[in-house]
Each structure stands twice: as C-alpha cells, then as structure tokens.
Amino acid sequence: MAVIKRRFRRIKERATAAAYALLGIIPPAAAAESKPWNVDASFLRYTESGRIDVTEPSVSVTKPFANDRSLGVMVTVDSISGSTPIGTLPQAPGAPVTTTSPSGHATTSNPGVVIPMSHYSDTRFGTDGSWKQPLGFGLTGVIGGEVSKQSDFLSYGGNISLAKDFNQKNTTVMLGLSPEFDTNKPHGGVPVPLSSQLAPTAISADKRVIGLLAGLTQVINPRTLMQWNFSQTRENGYLTDPYKQLSIVNSVTGAPVGSIYERRPASRIGNSLYWLTKYSVFSHDVISGSYRFFEDNWGIRSHTVDLNYHWQFNEQGYFEPHFRFYHQSAADFFNIGLVTGQPLPLLASADYRLAQFNGITGGLRYGWTFNNGSLFAIRLEYYTQRGNNHPDSAVGIQRGFNLFPTLQATVFQIQYNFDPARFARDFAAGS
C-alpha cells in the first residue's frame, strides 16, 4: 500500500513539473530556491556647509523563502555632529573684515551676520524588520516594526499593509496602517514653552503617530506604470522642538533683549497625495517622474516634483541624473521673532524648517553590475534651501541682516549590493 502511495506521489510530482514546463513557469519551490539572498550595504555622508555633518552606514538584508515569502532586516547608525540654528536672531551686525592675500593685496568685506547656532553631537541606532506573506486570492500582507534610539529620543513603530492584485496583476490596491510611539528626553529636561525658564517641567514628553496609506498601482501599457498614493499622518502629544527658541527684540531698534522657548500645537494632521509615473524608453532606459502635494492643519502646503532618468549605457553600467524641486509655505505660527510691548502669542516657532522656502536638489548616480551579479553604485547630490532673507516682519537692525542664510548640503553615498551565498562560493572557488 505504501509503495503504491509513493509511486502515485512520484507520478503526481512529475505531472506537475511537466505542466509547469509546458506553461513556461518556474515551480514556486524551485523559484524560491533560485532566488538569492540580498545584502545591500551603504555608506552615506551628508554634509551641510557650516552646519551639520551626518555619517550613516547601513546594512539591509532580504532573505526569500518558498511561496514568495520574504524577511527583510535593516540596521543603521547615524553619527551626527555640527551646528544647527537655535531660532534666535543675530545680536549685532558683523564687523567688516580686512584680509590680505599672499600678494599683499588687501580686500575689505562684510561677512554678514551670523545666525546663532548651537553645537550638536549625537549617535542614532536604528533597526527595522518586515515579513512579507502572500495570503491567497491575490492578497499580499506585509507586517513590520522599527526601533530608533538616540541620546534624547526613543521611537518604536510598527506597520501593516495589505495589497490586492486585480485584472491579471495590472492593477494593485494597497492599504496600510503604521502606529508609532516616540519619547523625547531633551538634555536638561523639557523646557517651559514660551518662557526663558531653564528649570524643566518634566524629564520626558511623549508623542503618538498614526500613519494611514492607501495606494493604487496601474500598468498602463507594456512600457508605462503609474502609482497614486494618499497618506495621512496624525500626530498627538509633544510636537515642540525642545531646543528651538525665539528672540524678543526691541520694537524700534530690533536689538534682541531676550529669548524664549518655542511652542507648537499638540496635534497635527498632514495629508499627502503622490503620483508616480515610470516610462521605459529606448531599450532599457527609464524616465521616472513624481509629484507630491502635502498640506497640514498647521498651515503648511508643499509641492514636490522629482525627476530621474535611468540611462543604461551598456549591459552592466548606468547613469542616473536626478532633479528635485520642493516648495513649502510657512506654518501659521512661524515667526522670525517677537517684539517687546506685545502680548505673547499662544503658539510660536522660529524654526527655519517651518518657514516658507524652496529646496532644489541636483545629483548623479553611477552604477555597475559585476559578472558575479553584485552591484556597485555611487552618487553625489547637491541640495540647497533658499528662503526669504529679508522678511517684512523684521524690525530695526534686523532689516539689514540675512535672516535665512542659504542652506547648502552635499550627499555622498556608496552602495554595494550582493548575494552573500554566491559571494562565498566565488571566494571559495577563487581560493
């Protein structure tokens, strides 16, 4: 009886294999075995001119399992150091400086006024993991979690999403939910908002975030793909930056007479709409273009346009020029500073990231695939942020100062992507 059962199983296996071969499909189990591990190692250096430097190595590993399941794990470390604007206004105009060149030629220049900065140094450790699981009926579920820790901040987050394929996989609808719990532990304690009081009111303050995501992906034709996403982020709790302050200046002279800590609302709802188009041109080149509209109940509205061209110049190498434009309006409670003799507002922040500004990014990425399948890539990008240097609300001497110095940053990244099993085999064969 057992022999008959084994024979029957063998015949069934052969028939299934023959059916897969006839249809030109790789059987699921074989497909999983042939799918390699993937390790993506990256080193990123973000450098702001005269401000913050960030060094960020990261490793991300994806392990596929049978039946299209996969596990992804990522570990990263950020080393941050440098100076960041406090939010206060300059004290006095910069004195003219006379410099003498080696040839003896003297030039006098006014270096301008330096925006007050505070030195900052920290290390962030972050890790996240996710599990992807097909659930049948064209449904795929992803569940994940993340932890991030730095000396004054701790964050736990999770995410769950469901995607459903329709119309022979030409249409995919996705729904997702992402809760996050953050604890802010500012050095020196949580300052009293809108006060110059240094004595803290508490050691820590919490924030809760819920992210919702709904997406639609549509294959338009064999060369074009589009995606539309709507996402909503709801934040509640301590949303103030504990290190940012505002100046109080003399209403006539504009000279700073003191400063207070900022205060933001205790809740925020942000909505974003995202549209991505990918279009394949020539044989293997791809144009990607996306637009994002964002608005929140703090009065911020933004537009982001992102363009990328993947130029596959031969079978192994490619270049990717990248351009991004960003514009945001100011938060309702953004204020460059307060003036004496006026009542304190309920909310106020002079954080330049809540001001109106434009951000422009230009960059180039180069990638090369080696014969063993591993991929090396390097990219260099330049990011600038320009805002209103001389806002109308400035008074007295502040009118003569550049109150939004242009932010200039470079991003340098090296990436190496490989299959560790193949790497080990090649290494053993080579040795």
Binding site: S272, L273, S280, H310, G359
Partner: protein
Amino acid sequence: MTLRRAIALLLLIGGVAMQGCANVKPWERETLAEPAMQLDSNPTVSSCDDHIYFSREASKGGRGFGGGGCGCN
C-alpha cells in the same frame, strides 16, 4: 491649491491615463520586470532621501508612510 483640488486633479489625470490602459499579458511584462521599472527601484536610496528631506523640510508621506522614528524633526 487645496487638498480637494489636488485630489480632483490627480483623479482627472488618473482617469485620462486609465483610458489609455491596455490589458498587459504576463508575456508582455519583460520591460516592466526590469529593476529600474520597479516602483521603488532602490529602497536604500529612497529611505536615505526620505530621512534627509523629512529632517530638513516640514512635509512627510507620499511614497510611503509619513512617520519618522527620528528626533531630527
């Protein structure tokens, strides 16, 4: 532009794009299967960029969830 106008505009674009939709068969997906044609063709770069812009700008979300997990903003 308000969120409603943005939704209306994207629905219009989506509607027009859908008119040109072809029912692409599995054997016509060679180009769509290429790495550069994937929605997120380089998750590591996307994740780094999201982190940079999230910490220097006031907007969040779009490509994915709008959370942060970082004290930089």
